[in-house]
Amino acid sequence: MSAGLEIQLIAIIVAIACSLPGVFLVLRRMSMMSDAITHTILLGIVVAFFITESLTSPLLILGAALMGVFTVFLTETLNGTGLVSEDSAIGVVFPLLFSIAIIIISKYAGAVHLDTDSVLLGELAYAPFNRLTLFGKDMGPKALYSMSVILLLNLVFIVAFFKELKIATFDPALATILGFTPALLHYSLMTLVSITAVGAFESVGSILVIAFMIGPPITAYLMTDDLKRMVMLSALVGSINGVLGYQMAAYFDVSIAGSMAVMTGLVFFLVFVFAPDKGLVSIIRRRSSQKIEFAQKSLLFHILNHEGDPNEALELGINTICQHVNWEMDFLNKMLSSLKKEEKIFMDGDIIRLTAQGKDYAIKSYEEIISEF
């Protein structure tokens, strides 16, 4: 396998592994927790390193995962005192833990081969150099295996506890009543987020972990209202972002992790603008068509109300109606001509009158509105 292919394969696996817990982070309004966790696991790694004195020990992953859970715990404890709002709690806790990590690293900089830059920024390009050899045989890059294990772990957890996660996410009170202990689920999920972040940031850096955890799920969120579909779509979107990002990085010869983050943003933007139903274009179109429909109905009601009025000539006269409905002349003319085209009104000399069809329509819509109350 070529290095490029290996990198893309790793990227796809990382993207899917990140997007699985990411979906629940987004739905539980904890997106920024991914930001906090990806930073604080550095302290976990540093502490574990000083205990084991090895950079390859699996205890590093354990330490980092524990630190991730500890971050969540600390934030929630702080928030639980009622003295600090949730966002401020995150904003206070993670810089502190991260600062401690940086200070320890720089204090022992000579002795440690830990580089904050590489941890935070990551470089996927180096992943293929770190290879797994079994019985003297090259088995491919290590990251491929570690991330596959993490992906499998996430997959098993989410498939096994899908129903529980769903209820705990959308209705925590119901989940408690049914006996699902949302707190346990919550911390299991946070443990998964931490483990995923540790595994992923080794190869892609912590910032890309955030992009992969949050970007694909919110992109998928704009395309569906179904949780199952959202999980699958975000895995798909994540993989596409990874591959496209790599192609872009290879073309311009720039940071692979950075390109994938940028691609995540671009794909989100496209979906944000053009998504059917929830995209910006269809929202604007829907709002303007609602505005026109509302204006047409109001105009029809006005005509219906004043038909046969003593002031009829003033209220419904083509030259004076403008003052009575209080609209811009242009807009009024547009509405009048569209209603004429639909044969709901006709001109009786200077006076605007409803056609039989227009009268039926006006009465029917009026009753529809009234019946809602």
Binding site: S88, F98, G215, T264, I283
Partner: protein, 375 residues
Amino acid sequence: MNVFELIMTDYTLQVVSLGSALLGIISGVLGSFAVIRKESLLGDAVSHSALPGIALAFLFTGTKNTEILLLGALTSGLLSTAIIMGISKYSKIKFDSALALILSVFFGGGLVLLTYIQKIPNANQAGLEKFIFGQASTVLLRDVKIIALLGAGLLLLVALFWKEFKIVSFDIDYAQSLGFDTKKITALLFAMIVTSIIIGLQTVGVILMSAMLTAPAVAARQWTDKLSVMVLLSALFGALAGLGGTVLSSVVSRLPTGPMIVIIISLIVLISLTLAPNRGLIWRFLRQKNNKKSISADQSLANLYHLKLDSPQSQGYEIPLIRPNLAQKKNGEQIVKEQLAWLTSKNLVREVNPSRWSITDKGMEYIDTYFKEEV
């Protein structure tokens, strides 16, 4: 050499600590508004988003002048804020998700640009990365002058629009009903918060800037319920942390400044959370203990009231009769005795005979007035 002497003689240290202290004041003041509006994580997003702006400014101008790089950072910081607001306004995506997305996408874009710049032959790009972690030691006197100038402008604006910022931060609907242009005021406030974040990048870096914005305000919030006092305290805490962190990091060798500042401000937060009067945790603990005591004493009084009504007698009642459950517990009798002594001191209860108590008329009146509903 002692610390004081060091500050008095070391020119670089003077410049750097002045810069950090100014930064602390500015971010303390504007952070107060961000914290009250529950948008303190915006600082994190904006500071990360500044990176592509810095890289682009360098790419186009080729200079590493602080003001040009900061202008680039400001532009991309403002752009990212506008996009975050747009996403959470025009879709069902929540504010925090929008923050996380834009933060990582912009930072990723910054990395892409930095790696691109590194490939340009002869480009004098070294030092751009200092914005990621911040490097206070590179702060020059002219940088401090820029900080002071921008800071003075920001503080002046805060003073001018004090009333507007206050009402928009606490009750935006009310502000709108009074006819304030809330959109413009909010936009101005955001622009100012973003500017204060950008100012801090050089010293504490993009990752730790959110602490500078959040922590002083969170600490100040514990000591007061008044915005003006909170803003002043927050500025003081920010200045203290900036100064202390800088001095400590240069006295204790090889400790980076940004993290040192964050540790000090976190300590201030911790002290405020525990010790602040009224809101502080210790204060609250004592108050709860007190409440528990007085509720229990009220219970004893209420029981005496019932005893007097249900089985009247002039000899008074013994403790096991007054609080049957509590008296059986360890030290229970002692606790009840103390309560009765306290109630006696307030003339609500009278020790008729040794170890026998009865409720006084004043006590009856007290229960009648305050516990009518429950009795």
